[in-house]
Every structure is written in structure tokens, then in C-alpha cells.
Amino acid sequence: MAEFTNEIRIDAPADEVWAVVSAAERQAEWFPGMVSSTVEDGIRTIGTVAGGFFLEKILSVDHEQMRFDYTITGPLQFDHHLGSLHVESEGNASRVSYTQELRPEALTYALRAATGDALSALKDLLESGTYSRGFKAVPGEES
């Protein structure tokens, strides 16, 4: 099994960061390469810019611990997958960690790189209201 964690510091209060991170249907707003994220019956469907999709079962949304856990259930077939987003308060700022475990390991490096991009984009969204890749935030989310 492979495991990796990406972290980033965001100059925004933890409750503001958690409000975005914990909203499962909002992930496409801050994850470059995702074009849609919809949630139905605890299953999130992620549409990708490549025309593909991921099905993700939401395992838990812990508002007290500010931890969001999910697992990819399809169409990719992992023996094991766990994705975890965790927000911690650092004074008036926040630290976001994004961990994934997977077996088989083929997608490890690609997911590590993509989640690194995503955390950068999350930071841009929360600090300046724009995506790091130049896409404007959705209406109503601009700061």
C-alpha cells in the first residue's frame, strides 16, 4: 500500500476553510481538472476535464475534528483507497492536509501531484477568490 500527504498553510480562519472543504459538492471549485462534483445518497460523482469520472463514497464528515474521509469506489477498482482532508487551526490561519492511501499503487504519484495542485488552488480560492490555474471562482465565492 502507498500513502502520501500534501499539506498547505492558508491565510484564512479554519472555520472558513472547513466550510469549503467539508462541502462535498464543492470540490470541483478548487480541484483543477475536476469539472463537476455532485452528491447523492452519500456518493459523490466527480466529473473530470478528460471526460471521465470518479465515484466516491463519503465515509465521514466530522465537523468537530474538521476531517472529511472518502473512498474511491469506481470505475477504478482499488483493493484499498482512503482519502482524508483535515483542517487545523493555526491562529487566524489554517493548515490543510490531504492524505490518500491506495493499493494497487499505480495512481499514487498522479494523485499526489494533483492533490498538490488542488491544495494550491484551494489556497488561492480562499485567499484571493481565484483558482491557481486562472479560472475565476464560482459566482458568489469571490472575495
Binding site: 500500500m1 502507498a2 480541484f31 483543477p32 481538472g33 475536476m34 473530470t48 476535464v49 478528460a50 471526460g51 471521465g52 470518479f54 470505475p75 477504478l76 477498482q77 482499488f78 483493493d79 494497487p104 499503487e105 499505480a106 495512481l107 499514487t108 504519484y109 498522479a110 499526489r112 501531484a113 494533483a114 495542485d117
Partner: protein, 516 residues
Amino acid sequence: MGRKILFVTTDQQRYDALGCNGGAVARTPVADALAADGVRYERAHPQNVVCMPSRATMLTGQHIRNHGVWMNGVPLPADAPTVAGLLHDSGYRTGLFGKAHFEPFLDPFLRFPENRMGVSGATQDEAGPHRGFERMEFAGHGAAGFVHYGSWLRDNHPEQMAGYFPVLDMALEVNPEGGGDTGAPQVKHNPVPRGIYHTDWVADRAISWLDSLDSAENWFCWLSFPDPHHPWNPPASELHRVPWRDLNLPAGYPTDPSERERLLDSKPAHWRRWYDGDLVSNYEAPARWVPATLTPEQVLEVNAMVHIQNELVDEALGRVLSAVSDRGWNNDLDVIYTTDHGEFQGDFGLLFKGPYHVDSLMRLPLIWRPAPSTTGQPAVVTTPVGLMDLAPTFCDIAGLEVPDWMDGIPLPRSEIDASNHGRAGVITEWDSLHPNGTEVHLQSIVADQMLCTRYEAGTCHDGTEGELYDLAEDPLQRVNLWDDPAAGPRKVELLEALEETIPDRPTHPLPAEAAV
């Protein structure tokens, strides 16, 4: 009018694939004719035995440690200098048709320009020419992937998509399943009509671009066939060319299992461990396939498929050369033919590739047919050359000064020319870090008919291991002389030459951003 350059590459093709190199099965008259009229290199070596590092070397003329692409999945930096850029800036028209793979394939969120181009159908990056190429149309190893061929097939012949073998499984690992007559991994009978198989599509796209050019223009065309790389699924209509039951087992395949295991045991431990299914060191072979299960019949069927794919490549190349000739360009045309790395194809009881520095993976076909308008005689060069010499050769052909950032030197046109180069040897290196934690590092030098490989400490090796082969006496690399006292002085000389030749590792290695 200057010289045109047709750069032809295959993928994962062995030296002995071609008739001019002694291949006795696949009929390759087009490549053979180029060799007869030009220079045939008997010791052309890649600087790495997997696609991305090797292709980065071809494009930059640099050692692995200087361009930084140390493993598949490490993208060539966007600002890396390239020979295509030099040629383009000097007025050459530049195009690449087929497999590029300077950036990772496994890219679900389209982080890389090549993949965005393949999905959108664009033939340039958002910013314009990409890596010096003003037109790029990509093909990969089948119908899947973010390549122009896949999009074209889906739009025009969707019923053919499923005919190709899925090179990756549902976890995106290299698919261990097999088919054909023997159940060999990555083999499938593919109903796709020959005319729309990717080999012919690549030739068609190159011809279309060449047709669009003015006759007086100089051009550099990289014709990059994805075959004979696995999956081995040529059009079923062509299987009659090489019935696998009629083949002999390749010389490199030890038929006696105990002999096979003895040979593997004479090499560093990762050879036998992979064979036994005890080690997954790299992504390039199916992780869930155990080489020890490979049967002689499967070796024969894989070889037959490869031979067929090689014949189709040769015929497609012939079509491109005819189109070029029809434009009146042949007299000023330089053709260079090679591949990025080899394939075990049954040698030592193995398939695919990995951290194994033997001729199966390292000895490549390389032919240079200089423009007939230039002076020079057909020749055979036995002195080792490297793929890093290609980019400097293209500069030389175009009349450009070879820039300092290239590590290679223009290919010799004769044995005398080669001896004047004074090179100590040609380097091939491997570094890998699998997500499972397995780490392998080795470096080789080939010089004076000897092949010497040293290992660094990793998760499989303690750093004392090595391989030393006398290529003249032991063409199949079955006798490892590393611990032979009689070979000690020669080993020391080669290790010293290796140390003097290989660049320092970069201080900050580039990160892997995908498995491949």
C-alpha cells in the same frame, strides 16, 4: 534548399528486429535499404531503458542526469531546451506524429499539455508550438489514453475501440491478463482493420503534414511509431504473416527451467526475485504477472506478434518515404531510424523491461541514411554510440552549431570517424522509486566490447553487486564476470571510465508525477 530530416522511431524494438541486423523473421526491406545506403550502427545504446527518460534524451541530446527525467512519470521540464526548438527557430518546419511521451500518460486531471492536446484535438499547446514542434498529433499503445488517435478512433470508428487490448487494468496497473492462442500477457487478436491501426494512422498524419509544406521548405519530421511496444495486438488480418507455431524459440530463451534459474541466479538478486514474483520494482511490467509462469508457447506467440508489428511499421515507413520521394525531396533527405529501448521478448524467460542492463533492452537498431546529395559511403559502425548523439546529429545536418547544453556528439559516419571521437564509452543508467518503497539504482558503461554495470544500495541491493559481460565472447550475457578475478583489471578500468563520464546527480531531483 537545405536538408530535410525524417526521424523515425519505434518503441521497445530490439536490435535483431530488423533484417539488416540479422533478424530472420520479420521482413523489413525499407529499413534494410536505408541501412544498405547509409550507416548502420551495431552498438547504439539508450541512456535509459524506459520510454520517458530515453525520449527526453533524444529530444535534448542530454544525459539523464542533465535533463532530469530519471524515471517514467517524471515530466521533462516545460522549459527544457530541445533540438526541435533549435530547428524551429532556425526556420525548419517541425512536426511530431505518433508517440511523444515527454510528459506522463497517467494524467486523469489533464495536468500536462500533451494530454490536453490529445483530448481537445489541438495540434499545438495553448501557448503555441510545444517543445519546438509546430504540429503534434499523438498516438499511444491502443485506443485508450489522451491521444489524438484515440479521439479520432472514438469519433470515426467507435466499434473498433474494444478490439484493442486494454494496456492498463481497472486499477491502472499494467494489465496482467492475456489472450491470443496461448494466454500470453498483453496479447490479443484485434479485429481492427489494418488501414486504421495506429501504425498506419501515424504514417497518414505525417504524410498529410508533409503534403502541406512548400517544396522549398526545410523540415524536421519525427515519425514516432508506438509499436512494437506491448500490448501485442496487431490487426488480426495480418496474423498470417508470422504463424507463431512455425517459429523457433529465440536464442535468448533458456528452454530448461533449471538453466534459466541458474542464469538468473548469477545476476544481482532482483533478476530472480522478479522472475519468481517476489519483487515489483517498477511499473513497466504487469505487477500481477509472474514471469516464471511464461510458457515456451507464449514466448513464441509474443515474438510472432512483435514480428508482425515490425513488418507493419516497415511498410508504413515505406509509404512515408514514397510520399517524400514524390515531392522530390529524397536527394536532400536524411533519415535516421531508431527506437527508445528494447524488449526481453523471452530472453532469460522474461518479457517487458525494467532495471536490467543487457542487450535485450540496451542494444538498439540505429540507421542513418544521410542525404544522397552529401558525400559519404555506406558504412557499419561498431563503436558504441548513444541516443544522446541524435540531437547533435540533427543540428549538424541542419548546419547548426551543437549547443553546449547537449552532451552528445554528432554520430560518426564511419568507423574511422568514430575512433576519432575518443569517447570512453556510452552510459546507461536506471533509478527507480516505486510507490511501494522499492528503490533500484544502477549505471552501466559499454566500451571495447565489454558491458559493465554497477549497483548502488537500494532496497534490493547493498551496493556491492555488479555485472560484467564480454559482449564478443558472450553475446547473450550469460556469464557474469563481475566476481571473476581474471576480469578484475578490466572491471576497474570500466568503472573508472564510468565514473569519469557520468554527470553528477542533480541536487534536487524532479518529482515523479505519475507512474508512467
